[in-house]
Symmetry: C2
Subunit: 299 residues, 2 copies
């Protein structure tokens, strides 16, 4: 298959490297990373050890047009821009897979493409950008991919097979919107708190006071998701969030990674979107709102 | 007058130095500060320039017993301990003046003394502990002192006169409980936020996002105070808080000062007490609770 991965961050590069074994993959990323890959290939370290020569470029015009799959792995605040640029290469048979964090990516993509061209995915793989040309695979996880309307289709089967062949444990999801919200609710808690305390995920449960705060935030975010019509129980969300924290205790959240690298932080499409939805639905958004303020208020 | 000041922090030392011009003052403080004062006197710098030889000691047993006024300026988490120790020297005619931050000091003192012996005060003077033996007077302010029952009494007139003679601008308050709450509501916002962002007070208004958060916290704290029967309007509290921030823009809040010095933080008796009261009264305490968690969760 011809695959273009737009967003050569940690997850984009890791999946790109794995998929490149059996597919024709192009990575679109930023200059230092692209230059390092051109010079010495893409190195994956940590759980996966892999050195691949992979096509990498900064410009969407330098990749073959009409790929079978365009996988979006940019940060949510770059989705609009990425999909506008990618317009030139999205062909009649190209499917766009949003494999991103945040609640607003599919809506952003829909502004430019018919919904039929879009599928979405959620992954709990952990990866870290070590340095240009090198990614650290820090956590095994699962990936789910599905049609926006929940239907079982051939293209979902195809990409699920492709991912599994590449060693990325993946299943088809009958309700990808719920999966996206499920991850966002977990992230609404872990991401801002780890950014604040500049800590590994595990610290949130090492400290009993923070453990209580984790529960409070999960509760508010769950109620917002419920108000939006998503059927989560607060108990399950708490259990799931604590499991994620335990399973990724030595990892740094994507938000804290961005913060450390001095990059823009993906808070608007997680906590910010929860505030927007909750406000519209008339449910309490105090904690999420305060997290947005506190993260954005940082010097 | 014979005055003992228990708690030779920034405010205790500043007021001690000023009052020592016309009164017999003893300061009770910690060893490094007391030793420096014994060796080279107490230095006030900044707005006030003053060098005084003043009696300083670490032990309550080394001061004359039965002073006219025992002024408590310890942090609120030390009130219990201080008043227990001071038991030995509090005489029949001694009045105890709590000149502290926080909402639980008077209740703590009442556990050991009859309410008639207690008066309370609130000051907006700004001071900073520069180094042992030296205090920086950073902000002019006003001080109010009153009986717990709101009555006009001779001892209030006396201490108000004493303070004014010492150059501490002071008036008698007809409702000191409201004044204490008024300051706590302002502090509930300024103290934890400046501690978080490790910033001068002024930063809270330099940053428009934090300005919005200031308003939200003021609102919640005002509603808690209202539920407790204290008649504040949200608009006045906002205006007052913003004025305090502007007037003390170059200052560091007492909470951030404690944090910087690696000392215990006075959050329980400000935001913690607001959470306790609000929970009892059934009003929303989300933001104050989160501030308590976030401050206590710090590494």
């Amino acid at each position: 298959m011809n695959i273009v991965i737009f967003g050569a961050g940690a997850i984009g590069s890791l999946f790109g490297a794995l998929l490149s074994k059996n597919n024709n993959v192009s990575l679109i990323g930023r200059k230092p990373h692209v230059n390092a890959i051109k010079k010495s290939g893409l190195k994956i370290r940590g759980i996966t050890k892999l050195d691949v020569a992979i096509h990498a470029t900064c410009s969407v015009n330098k990749v073959n047009s009409s790929p079978d799959f365009l996988i979006l792995t940019v940060k949510s605040y770059d989705t609009d821009n990425a999909i506008k640029q990618a317009g030139n290469i999205i062909g009649e048979n190209t499917t766009v897979l949003s494999l991103q964090n945040g609640l607003d990516n599919v809506d952003s993509i829909k502004k430019y493409l018919e919904p039929e061209k879009i599928i979405a995915g959620v992954t709990t793989y952990g990866a870290l950008f070590s340095e240009p040309g090198e990614i650290r695979h820090t956590g095994m996880g699962t990936t789910v991919i599905g049609e926006l309307n929940g239907k079982k289709t051939e293209r979902i089967d195809n990409i699920v097979r492709l991912f599994n062949q590449a060693g990325i444990k993946t299943t088809a999801s009958p309700d990808i919107t719920k999966d996206i919200w499920g991850k966002a609710v977990v992230n609404s808690c872990i991401n801002p708190l780890t950014t604040f305390f500049q800590c590994k995920n595990g610290y949130l449960l090492d400290n009993p006071i923070l453990g209580q705060l984790v529960e409070k935030i999960c509760q508010e975010s769950t109620y917002i998701a419920n108000a939006q019509g998503l059927d989560f129980s607060y108990e399950d969300v708490i259990k799931n969030t604590k499991n994620v924290i335990r399973n990724t205790s030595e990892n740094y959240s994507s938000m804290f990674q961005s913060y450390r690298m001095g990059k823009k932080i993906e808070i608007d499409s997680i906590n910010g979107k929860l505030v927007e939805v909750g406000t519209k639905k008339g449910v309490d958004v105090s904690l999420n709102e305060m997290l947005v303020y506190l993260i954005k208020g940082r010097k």
